[in-house]
Amino acid sequence: MRKCSLDKIDLVFAQIAKNAALYLPVDQTDGSAAYKKWEEGTVWSGALNTVRSPKDFFFPQTEDLMRFKTEGKNIEIIDTRTEGEDFVVFGVRACDVKSFDILDRVFLSEPVDSFYANRRAHGVIVSLACTRPSETCFCKTFGIDPAEPAGDITAWKTETEIFFRANTEKGEQLLSKIAALTEDSDDAVVKAQKEQIGKIMDKLPLKNVTTDGFGGGKTDELFNRPEWDELSQSCLGCGTCTFVCPTCQCYDIKDFNTGNGVIRYRCWDSCMYSEFTRMAHGNNRLTQKERFRQRFMHKLVYYPENNDGLFSCVGCGRCLAKCPISMNIVKVMKKIGGETK
């Protein structure tokens, strides 16, 4: 384990940014935090929670796939793929790190999504232990320890210092690059912090949310539960929950006619939208209730069914904080699954 005084953190950032684009949470004018590219003078806010999750780095909201150049009746196909640049995402919470596992299972299983794989290969994740979970947090429900985030490097931050531990080869490499700015350390401070975090976890209001009652094989049992009507009733059908969700991975492929050609791109889509997965015959989920149910059944039943019991929710709490009508997965889990462990 290496450590470094926070006084020197900008030097660390400068060092990392020499070889790779560095992204870290920065305070925005509206008071929330967002990942921004570090440049000289950028101030790391240390914020753990960002409105947009770091999934954007591997699965951006819009991404060009290819282009067609048209001239008169001629069409030329242009491959727009490039070898990506190396980048580092710094300060990722445990829950958000976990989301990459969930996305990997979708995009890296055959057929591999080359765009995602390209980004994944070039990205290094520096996670940060979460010392101040919010009341909306329930990562523990999914077996995530906020004090022990995964990632290529795990970091723990105190008032004055930051501790790093490499977890992967990529992490080792990055740590070695900043070796001159860091020094060896024992894990006493980190241990104390972990204990502290554990205490907070026991106080979280959502600590008892359980996945019991969900998981693979539960489709028949849960699909026609009458509670779906009531739960979905107020849903506006906007895409907020899906767009702030670190694990939602649905996208649409669209063509944009530029006048001189066509850009084929993909962009996030939302199962909440009436146009989602629309086919020649119409739409297979005609009502908001069906669309609403799909989202939660996918996260809590279908996904685990296909992925060794892994739920595709990490308890980050973004949808709890951002849903315009405050309907969310916790309310669904409590209503459909049951109250406590």
């Binding site: 001239e71 008169g72 009746k73 001629n74 006619n257 006048g259 739409n283 005609l286 209730k289």
Partner: protein, 664 residues
């Protein structure tokens, strides 16, 4: 995918001088959808048109782009050419490379470049064109004239003379309107009744004309050529077809103290009445507010004296449904109320009267049998003050009166003044005016005669106050030319009250979806070019309902309206403009934004049942455009937030395709 043919015209050297037409034809050859492209000296010539026809056949063209002069010039020509070749005429688009290109640019390269772009835009549009067919609707060959004054009478007579049936709806018991109340008419001074009543008789005797007197229009639906109208025939308690108009009932009716509206309340009539001797129809009417029999069942004298047995106390309002092809509005005008003009003491003294009351006072059939006598004491007035512009030409911000000029007052005041001095030379006559406006044939001569021959004292200035004192009216006024205050002891003050549209006009406009200005005058389809048509197709305007006018103007407008109606009724079918708006009911919210901006009232709403995704049904309100009424302006398409409303021939997608082609 379309198969488009492009035809680039040289127009001699008009286009070819500045545009490399061959290069344009060549460049457009490669545009999506284009299968044939050529150029020719004169595309509009017979040879050019034949070339297009042949190309359509040879290349199975589905669309045509002609790069030539303005579509305002030859769009119709090329549409006909296309039709002759078996193509839908609306599959033709014109790229204007003459007026808007070769003629305004000097340089060959610039001109050619622009011509290519304009051609591309036209191709882009044709790619999205769809064949359009104008809608057809039948025409009901019957006209409705609302209002039985001189305007309505003249319109009805002219339409009837052309052989079409006409119905006149008049809310009063008789036709005749305001003109029937007038004494003499300016500037010829012939008697109003002498020229009007024969026309009223003509109306009554014309086989093509039906008069619904004492009736009102209560409901209008439908559209040009196909209006459905409900007419309420108010109960007059007299069988119209039985009454002979002998007048026996009027004499015997015990209730004789009803203010006579025909004489503006200056004398009384009986509860059963005929407004005036030459009324058409000459049928009695019982005033239900005055008749004791109707009010409390006690009397029944008229029924007893009626030899014909025409009285029917049980008569009810009757509703008549009729179909019409055209509707003429001739609802006329009224003098405005003088209630707000207290400075003239109208409500305080019987001897302050309006000009229309003055007409009745000087009319031989009026309350004083034509003798000019003061209403208060029946004495002959020796000093008369006429006040012009009472309530006309007021400040926009003034609480009372109208902003506009009532137009007729200058002339009738001159007439009143002249006639007074003619009959009673011992009378002093003053006329106070802001301006004297006499633009009409023989009008100024008439006014000058009043001043020069008859010695009427015209004073530029306004009367400030009229105060009754004893049997005199103290008139306080200013003489703007002499710049002094005047005090006149008058015996009679006559106010030239502004005129305003009849109260019935606004509800009627709502029924007709015809537009009105802020003064409640009906607006024309075009203020200069279509002055007798309302923007609502099939609705025409006659007389003062459209704006203040005198009798000759009213009669000429009435004739013009009639000729427009005749032109419409002469058709068996109406062919519409196919470039009309249409609403996609699946996207329509029924919010009424489109109907709010439609100048033609072409949009209505219906409740329609839709199948919802969850297999329930929902009734939604959706817009429906009547293609026979829509003129295709497109105002609705922008008012519609959901984009449900689109315009054929100028669709959103087509215009955007043009934008794209131009900007690429």
């Amino acid at each position: 995918m379309q198969r488009i043919g492009v035809f680039v015209c040289w127009c001699g050297s008009n286009i070819a001088g500045t545009v490399d037409v061959k290069a344009v034809a060549e460049a457009l050859k490669n545009e999506p959808g284009v299968v044939f492209s050529t150029d020719y000296q004169y595309m509009c010539s017979q040879a050019g048109q034949d070339m297009i026809k042949e190309a359509v056949k040879e290349h199975n063209l589905t669309g045509i782009v002609v790069c030539s002069c303005s579509p305002r010039m030859h769009e119709a020509t090329f549409r006909k050419t296309a039709a002759a070749a078996g193509l839908n005429p609306y599959m033709v688009e014109i790229a204007n490379i003459r007026e808007q290109c070769s003629w305004v640019h000097k340089d060959m390269m610039t001109g050619t470049e622009k011509a290519v772009i304009l051609g591309k835009a036209a191709v882009a549009k044709v790619n999205l064109n769809t064949p359009l067919t104008p809608g057809e609707s039948p025409v009901t060959k019957r006209a409705l004239v609302i209002g039985g004054g001189i305007a309505g009478i003249q319109t009805a007579l002219d339409i009837a003379d052309a052989g079409f049936p006409v119905d006149i709806v008049e809310k009063k018991p008789t036709i005749g309107g305001k003109m029937a109340q007038l004494d003499k008419t300016f500037p010829t001074l012939d008697c109003a009744a002498c020229i009007l009543t024969p026309k009223m008789v003509d109306v009554a005797q014309n086989e093509n004309i039906r008069i619904f007197s004492y009736s009102e229009v209560t409901e209008v639906s439908g559209f040009v050529g196909n209006f459905d109208v409900t007419i309420k025939k108010k109960a007059r308690y007299v069988k119209e077809d039985v009454c002979t108009g002998c007048g026996a009932c009027l004499e015997k009716c015990p209730m004789k103290k009803v203010p006579n509206e025909f004489n503006l309340g200056m004398d009384n009539r009986s509860a059963i009445y005929i407004p005036f001797a030459q009324a058409v129809p000459k049928v009695a009417t019982i005033d239900p507010n005055a008749c004791n029999m109707l009010k409390n069942g006690k009397c029944g004298v008229c029924a007893k004296v009626c030899a014909a047995g025409a009285i029917d106390y049980t008569q009810k309002d009757e509703f008549i449904q009729e179909k019409y092809g055209a509707i003429v509005v001739a609802t006329g005008f009224n003098p405005i109320s003088m209630d707000k003009f207290d400075e003239f003491a109208y409500s305080q003294s019987k001897d302050v009267i309006t000009s229309l009351e003055f007409e009745r006072l000087t009319n031989a059939a009026g309350p004083s049998a034509g003798k000019l006598l003061r209403p208060s004491d029946g004495k002959h007035p020796h000093t008369i003050v006429f006040v012009q512009c009472v309530g006309s030409r007021c400040d926009a911000c003034a609480e009372k009166g109208k902003e506009y000029c009532s137009k007729i007052c200058c002339m009738y005041t001159a007439k009143h003044a002249m006639l007074t001095r003619d009959k009673y030379p011992d009378t002093e006559v003053y006329v106070f005016y802001i301006d004297v406006r006499t633009p009409g044939k023989n009008f100024d001569e008439f006014y000058r005669r009043a001043v020069e021959e008859y010695g009427v004292k015209y004073i530029k200035g306004m009367v400030g106050k009229v105060t009754p004192e004893g049997d005199k009216l103290k008139v306080q006024a200013s003489d703007l030319i002499a710049n002094k205050q005047l005090h006149i002891d008058a015996d009679l003050v006559v106010l030239a009250a502004a005129i305003e549209p009849d109260q019935s006009a606004r509800p009627l406009a709502t029924m007709l979806t015809a537009s009105m200005d802020t003064n409640d005058f009906f607006t024309e389809a075009h203020p200069k070019l279509r002055p007798v048509e309302s923007p609502t197709a099939g609705v025409f305007l006659s007389g003062a309902c459209q704006g203040p006018k005198d009798i000759p103007e009213t009669v000429s407008q009435a004739g013009a309206a009639a000729s427009k109606v005749i032109g419409l009724l002469a058709k068996d079918k109406l062919t519409g403009n196919p470039c009309v708006a249409g609403s996609n009911e699946l996207m329509c919210n029924g919010c009424s934004s489109c109907a709010n901006v439609c100048p033609y009232g072409a949009i209505s709403y219906e409740e329609k049942e839709f199948r919802m995704p969850d297999r329930t049904t929902k009734v939604r309100r959706v817009a429906v455009v009547n293609p026979a009424v829509c003129q295709g302006c497109g105002a609705c398409t922008v008012a519609c937030p959901s984009g449900a409303m689109d315009l054929k021939g100028f669709a959103n997608s087509q215009i955007m395709a043009e934008v794209d082609a131009i900007c690429k």
